[in-house]
């Protein structure tokens, strides 16, 4: 970044310096994943032998842990549950957030400012503050212990975030274009769906990606509102149900953790730039 009038040798030294300092960070970031992957392919005999080297696989790659996951546990049901929950709650939140975001960013009426502030405060309220009363709310609604408990409660953190993000995108659209449409006889709803929405597509993609990631990764609500094995999400299923009693079956645990991360990692790899821009625009919960 800082390139002044410097000699070639100095620049080369600076590049080497950059890489050398990045190595520890990249190692720190990636080693846990590498180790999880290695563990999931090792035989139990090798895993639990104090004489073996834990850092790589010596006695051959083994698929037993994955086979166990598919054959003997409800892993596929959990994945299915997670998919349904993520898609449904992201979809609901997207619709609500597009409407609210457009209204707050574009229209002039009394109370706009205070509602915008309310959305922002809700955005900052962490789920750990509300999970106790919400666990009772879902009981009263008669949806406790079903995937509906999560489909209904996930929008509580997705909508404020998405609204906030979309407001930014709607604000960048020139007002004149919309006014032209209105003068030409389009209704307000048509102006929203035909003019504003197409121009906010990058924001919508961002909302979908973050919605999917945040709901897929969500832990505390999924842990507290659902206790039946068949209705659990992938993250909670792997974390809670693969441990029987006090015994940790590390091979299958790591296999489950790896596989349950695949959908978000796949999204991430394909849409890296959206993640980066969403992170920096919305300053997402981290």
């Amino acid at each position: 970044m800082i390139t002044g009038v410097r000699s070639r040798a100095a620049r080369r030294r600076s590049i080497a310096f950059g890489y050398a300092n990045l190595v520890p960070f990249v190692f720190f970031a990636l080693f846990p994943f590498y180790f999880m992957l290695v563990t999931s392919f090792k035989s139990n005999a090798e895993l639990y032998s104090l004489k073996s080297i834990p850092l790589w696989i010596q006695n051959g790659v083994i698929l037993d842990h994955y086979r166990y996951l598919f054959g003997r546990t409800e892993f596929l049901t959990w994945i299915k549950n997670s998919l349904i929950i993520s898609v449904a709650s992201t979809g609901i939140s997207l619709v609500i957030a597009v409407l609210a975001g457009y209204s707050l960013a574009r229209l002039r009426f009394r109370g706009v400012g205070s509602f915008g502030t309310a959305v922002f405060i809700t955005y900052l309220v962490p789920p750990t503050l509300l999970f106790l009363p919400l666990s009772q709310v879902v009981v009263w609604l008669g949806i406790a212990d079903t995937i509906w408990a999560l489909i209904v409660t996930y929008p509580t953190f997705l909508v404020p975030f998405s609204t906030w993000l979309l407001m930014g995108y709607f604000r960048t659209i020139p007002r004149e274009i919309e006014e032209c449409a209105l003068v030409d006889g389009a209704s307000r709803m048509q102006t929203l769906t035909r003019i504003a929405l197409p121009m906010a597509i990058p924001g919508i993609v961002c909302v979908i990606l973050f919605g999917f990631t945040l709901t897929w990764n969500e832990f505390i609500y999924a842990l507290t509102f659902v206790s039946q094995t068949a209705n659990k999400t992938a993250v909670v299923g792997v974390t809670a149900d693969l441990i029987r009693g006090d015994i940790y079956y590390w091979g299958s645990l790591m296999a489950g953790a790896v596989l349950a991360s695949v959908p978000v990692v796949a999204c991430y790899v394909f849409f890296l730039d959206y993640y980066v821009s969403g992170l920096t625009a919305g300053a997402v919960k981290g």
């Binding site: 970031a29 834990p54 609500i96 609210a100 006889g185």
Partner: protein, 312 residues
């Protein structure tokens, strides 16, 4: 509003008729505006504001799972303040937040500076560094749990082979101070990408001329950082630190998976203690009281955030 009705008239829609009147009413800017925020308003009222009110009510009653209790005033708060485990959790929360946040901020700025360099494979490097933030925290923490295993810890194995530890090395999750250290490490690991990538965005937006001017003046690279970069990064850093304060302070996943608050309830944070008391123990009243203790901290951060955003 006037534009709306004139536009309608211009399209030649038959003026009378109920439908047309409803449409005209709906086309008013304020009606349309309220209509669009209605779903969000209902959601926030029913599933955020109302539960929040309930949390306050719970905390003032002896409400147990399955049996609505009666009003007991501040008894719950008195009880938890006298509880050793709770006081430990308060102390833990502040120590944990302070140390983790400092590490994340310092390392995050350093990492951002490195990533901002014009290196080959920049995109790949950024992608790799951001990965811990994307993977479900509960699952990656499971990986750390295995890495800190009392018998097969790969951390200890490697450190012993490198001569950094004497065998058998620390029992990470069995001793309070080591367990706290492990929790902080995982939190830094998972939160660092957020800091680095946001600060990086701030770095990229600093005009190059500033550096050139400083370089012409003969400023060393450290002085350039201290007097040019850091002051210009202040706004970005402020936002990131405020955000991160909330979500570090309220962390649940890492402690729950790594230690469950153990050994002997010494590593609890507010959220995990509230969970253990309110749901695992069934004492919703006390659990709610514990989680409400997070509120002053949250309020403070919200206050600063709002003030900051208004100023922008």
């Amino acid at each position: 509003m006037a534009v709306g009705s004139r536009a309608l008239a211009a399209t030649g829609v038959q003026a009378p008729g109920r439908l047309a009147r409803v449409r005209e009413w709906w086309e008013q800017e304020h009606i349309f505006g309220y209509g669009l925020i209605l779903p969000a308003f209902v959601l926030i009222t029913c599933l955020v504001a109302y539960p929040f009110g309930m949390a306050i009510y719970f905390s003032l009653s002896d409400y147990w799972v399955g049996s609505p209790g009666s009003f007991v005033g501040l008894a719950n708060f008195r009880d938890i303040l006298g509880n050793e485990v709770f006081r430990q959790a308060v102390w833990n929360s502040f120590v944990f937040t302070a140390i983790a946040l400092t590490c994340k901020a310092v390392l995050g700025v350093w990492l951002a500076l490195l990533l901002a360099r014009n290196l080959r494979g920049k995109r790949l490097l950024r992608g790799a560094v951001l990965l811990p933030w994307v993977i479900p925290t509960a699952l990656s923490t499971l990986g750390w749990l295995w890495m800190f295993d009392s018998l097969y810890s790969v951390v200890n194995w490697t450190a012993i082979r490198l001569g950094l530890m004497t065998a058998p090395g620390p029992n990470w999750l069995g001793i309070s101070s080591y367990a706290m250290l492990a929790i902080i490490t995982v939190n830094v690991w998972r939160g660092l990408p957020f800091f680095a990538i946001t600060v990086l965005a701030g770095l990229v937006s600093i005009p190059r001329e500033f550096y050139e001017a400083a370089e012409v003046d003969g400023a060393s690279s450290f002085r350039r950082f201290w007097f040019v970069t850091l002051p210009l990064l202040k706004p970005v850093l402020a936002v990131v630190i405020l955000f991160s304060t909330i979500f570090t302070f309220n962390d649940f996943n890492i402690v729950y998976v790594l230690t469950r608050g153990g050994p002997m309830n010494t590593t609890h944070l507010f959220a995990t203690l509230a969970y253990q008391t309110g749901l695992a123990g069934g004492n919703l009243g006390q659990g709610a009281a514990i989680s409400l203790f997070m509120l002053p901290m949250l309020g403070m951060v919200v206050f600063f955030q709002l003030r900051y955003i208004r100023r922008e």
